[in-house]
Amino acid sequence: MADDKDVLRDVWFGRIPTCFTLNQDETTEREAEPYYLLLPRVSYLTLVTDKVKKHFLKVMKPEDVGEMWFEYEGTPLKWHYPIGVLFDLHASNTVLPWTITVHFKNFPDRDLLHCPSNSVIEAHFMSSIKEADALKHKSQVINDMQKKDHKQLWMGLQNDKFDQFWAMNRKLMEYSTEDGGFRYIPFRIYQTMSDRPFIQKLFRPVSPEGNAHTLSDLLKEMYPAAIPNEGEQKRYQVVIHGIEPLLETPLQWLSEHLSHPDNFLHICIIPTPSD
């Protein structure tokens, strides 16, 4: 059970100051001012940028407006990753505010999923929660919930209602004391150094001998290069929600407290900045 409420709140209310600017190649009727926004780390770009869209549409002709998409320093941003993951992965060692470029044409079909409406975000979000529960409880908890319960999870995220979301989400975080944790930990490890978007495999929170697995145990198996050898300089940062948790932190605790609302623990591995 998740009982460390302060941590849950800090995670939920994490914000990234962001400056949106319009792509220079867009056809405008007059110059577009940049738009500033505090982005919730746990939400999705396309869910919280209605105002950004409205702002730029003011200077554009309707016929020049296609599906909106975002880019940071040449990389199209995948709206279906949580905002905090995008920031940690692509921009964590840059100066704030995070400068995102907004596009309304040349949608990069080969890189990005289309997001024509919030119901697509909802479907994606719920599908992640379901997958996570398949891993944690063989889907038993999510299947026992009613449709209105599923809706409550989504509405909680959409309307930024911490209490509404967690009143339901706590059920997804339960496990029996004899098990000592979930069946498997829903996690994804992201890095920008290869074409493969992320690593996702089966990993249990407790070893066969009954010891709690730590973040370090997970990385040793999934991404050994992320753990520095003795006496060696640290090559990578292991980042969750913008911080580097101690590698000795039990994985079960991380899963309960530092997972995103989609119930996955998103871990970013980024090269240590050489300054």
Binding site: F107, L113, S117, S119, E122, S127, K130, R196, P197
Partner: protein, 245 residues
């Protein structure tokens, strides 16, 4: 109880057997490894003539609510149909009279063209099932939108899919390539494989999970599995799901 799930090892074995048969039948499946790991996926590319409705009928209904002027064509900025949990509202009114018995899609705006279908079979460790990913492009390389793909799905399948939105086609990131693909959601796979597996186990029939599964999933998105997989090859792999008894 655990008989319905597919272990990753079994998945790989089934894939190997399918590849052997495919080679003999010249059916065109290949194994695409992911560099630096044992993982990978089965892949097949097919050219197929299909009727694609560039201006789907449901768009006409929605045009009033969704910024109308974008008439024909690209379709990529158009609203997605299903993909959502409350898709029920989109179903229903597809008129059966529009189709002939042999399933030819009789919508006037549709145009027949040759398309390239690329199918991938991956393993989902979360659901312990295979998952079918695919993408479709025209011969000039343009990728088809979700709406266009939907319009190419056989009407009978479309109705069935839309009634169970979670089984529907959605656009998803390919977990190994990181590119947008369409996917048939795996979360019900165990459910529909159960009765088949029951029969197989009761009668001790040889069977290949992937083939049986593919014979259910494939036709929905235009991927037909030659019967020869079942009839010609008498390895310990022939599949039995079509057996009437």
């Amino acid at each position: 109880m655990s008989s319905c799930v597919l272990e990753e090892e079994t998945f790989h074995r089934c894939c190997q057997l399918l590849l052997q048969q495919s080679d003999q039948l010249r059916d065109g499946w290949s194994w695409e490894p992911v560099q630096g790991s044992q993982e990978g996926y089965l892949k097949k590319t097919v050219l197929r003539s299909a009727v694609i409705n560039l201006d789907p009928m449901w768009d006409n209904k929605r045009a009033s609510s969704d910024s109308g002027p974008d008439q024909q064509g690209k379709g990529k900025e158009q609203p997605v149909l299903v993909a959502s949990v409350d898709a029920d509202s989109n179903i229903g009114d597809i008129n059966d009279d529009d189709y002939e018995d042999d399933g030819v899609y009789m919508v006037s705006e549709g145009c027949r063209q040759v398309l390239q279908y690329e199918y991938h079979i991956l393993y989902s460790c979360s659901y312990s099932t295979p998952v079918l990913y695919f993408r479709v492009s025209s011969l000039d390389g343009r990728g088809l939108s979700l709406e266009e793909v939907w319009s190419s799905v056989h009407p009978n399948f479309r109705l069935r899919l839309q009634k169970s939105p979670l089984n529907a086609i959605t656009q998803q990131e390919h977990p190994l390539l990181g590119q947008p693909f369409f996917m048939l959601h795996p979360c019900r796979t165990e459910e529909f494989m159960k009765p088949v597996l029951q029969v197989v186990q009761d009668k001790h029939r040889p069977f290949n999970y992937i083939l049986t599964w593919l014979s259910v999933m494939g036709p929905v998105v235009g991927l037909d599995i030659p019967l020869k997989y079942a009839s010609e090859i008498h390895l310990a792999t022939s599949f039995s799901s079509t057996d009437p008894d």
